[in-house]
C-alpha cells in the first residue's frame, strides 16, 4: 500500500509519518513536494504536522493554495482516504475539505504534552480498527487547536456522526479539564460527509512505538491499511 506524505515548506512531522508508515507498519511511503501536481498513484494521502509557510497569515492559509492541493482535492472527491494531522488538519479546514476553523488556544499558550483522545466513531478509514470509547494516549503540539465552528455546523457534525475524536481523560470522560485548548465540545478530530477525509490535532505518527512513550497512534495507520485491504488495494501493491 502506497502512502503519499505531502511536504510543505515548514512541515516538520513528515519524517515521523514516513517512519511510522514504512519502518513500523512496513508499508510503502513517498514524500510529495507541495509544488508537485501529482500524488503519483498513492492509495492514502497524509498531510503532516508542522508550520507550513511559518503559519503566516493563519495556520494553513497559504498551504491551501499549493499546487498539490488540487490533486489532494481530486483524490478526496474520488473517495481516497486523506488524513490531516495537526497543521495538516488546519490546512484541511482552510481549504474547505473539512468545516470550521482554528482559534488560538484559549490560554494563548503552545501546548506540547500527552492528552487522552476518545474515539467516537469507527466508521472512518482511519479508525476502523478502534473501538468506540477507546482512549488513545497521544501527544499534541500546537498553539492553534481551539476548534471553532458556528452552532449550525456543530449540529450538522453531531447529527452526521462526524466528530471522530474528543479530548478526554484516561477514564474516557470528555471533561473541561481534559480539554487542552478550549476546542468546542472537546472536538479533537472530525471527518467529511463521505467520511474519507479525517483531520485531528493530536499526533498519532509520533506515538507508534512504546520507546517514544506510547504506541497508541499506530492503530490509526493500521486502520487505513485494513480499510483499504478490505477494498482489495493491499493485494495490488504487495505483489
Amino acid at each position: 500500500m502506497r502512502f503519499a506524505v505531502v511536504v510543505f515548506p515548514g512541515s516538520n512531522c513528515d519524517h515521523d509519518a514516513y517512519y511510522a508508515i514504512t519502518h513500523v507498519l512496513g508499508q510503502q511511503a513517498a514524500f510529495v513536494w507541495h509544488k508537485d501536481r501529482s500524488l503519483a498513484g498513492a492509495d492514502v494521502v497524509i498531510l503532516p504536522g508542522g508550520f507550513s509557510h511559518g503559519d503566516y497569515l493563519r495556520t494553513g492559509a497559504i498551504a491551501r493554495f499549493s499546487p498539490i492541493m488540487t490533486a489532494v482535492r481530486e483524490f478526496a472527491a474520488a473517495g481516497g482516504p486523506v488524513l490531516g494531522i495537526c497543521n495538516g488538519f488546519q490546512i484541511l479546514l482552510e481549504c474547505g475539505l473539512l468545516p470550521g476553523a482554528m482559534l488560538r488556544n484559549r490560554d494563548v499558550k503552545f501546548h506540547c504534552e500527552f492528552v487522552g483522545l476518545r474515539v467516537e466513531r469507527t466508521d472512518t478509514p482511519f479508525t476502523s480498527q478502534c473501538a468506540v470509547g477507546q482512549v488513545l494516549r497521544l501527544p499534541i503540539a500546537h498553539g492553534e487547536g481551539n476548534y471553532f465552528a458556528p452552532a449550525e455546523t456543530i449540529a450538522e457534525l453531531e447529527a452526521g456522526g462526524r466528530i471522530v475524536f474528543r479530548y478526554a481523560n484516561l477514564a474516557g470522560e470528555a471533561t473541561e479539564r481534559a480539554n487542552p485548548n478550549g476546542a468546542l465540545d472537546n472536538i479533537a478530530g472530525i471527518c467529511n460527509e463521505a467520511r474519507n477525509v479525517v483531520g485531528l490535532m493530536p499526533h498519532p505518527e509520533r506515538a507508534c512505538e512504546t520507546l517514544v512513550g506510547s504506541a497508541d497512534g499506530l492503530v490509526v495507520f493500521e486502520s487505513v491499511v485494513h480499510a483499504l485491504a478490505a477494498r482489495g488495494v493491499l493485494q495490488a501493491v504487495s505483489r
Binding site: A61, L103, R104
Partner: protein, 88 residues
C-alpha cells in the same frame, strides 16, 4: 492606489489574545479598558486607477485569502482620489 484592510474576529468568536491583553491592561490599573479585540491590518498597494477598482480588488483578496469567513470579517478603506491616466 492604496487600500487598507482591517480583519477582525466576528463578535460571536472568542478572542483569546484580546482577553489576555485586556487582563494585562486591567492588572496595570487601566480599569476603564473594558474589553480588547485583536485584529489584523493590511496595506495593499494596488495597480489600478479608480477607487472602485481598488475596492473591488481589495474585497476579493480579503474575502478569499486575508480573512477566514468562518471566524473573521473585514472592512476596507480606499483613498478616494482617482488617479489620472498613466500615473501609478
Amino acid at each position: 492606489m492604496k487600500a487598507r484592510v482591517f480583519v477582525t474576529l466576528k463578535p460571536s468568536v472568542f478572542d483569546p489574545q484580546g482577553r489576555t491583553i485586556v487582563d494585562a491592561l486591567q492588572s496595570l490599573g487601566y480599569a476603564a479598558v473594558a474589553d480588547v479585540r485583536q485584529g489584523k491590518y493590511f496595506e495593499l498597494d494596488l495597480d489600478v486607477r479608480t477607487s472602485d477598482d481598488a475596492e473591488k480588488l481589495a474585497g476579493e483578496v480579503a474575502g478569499r485569502v486575508l480573512a477566514n469567513p468562518v471566524i473573521e470579517s473585514f472592512r476596507i478603506e480606499v483613498a478616494q482620489t482617482d488617479r489620472p491616466e498613466g500615473q501609478r
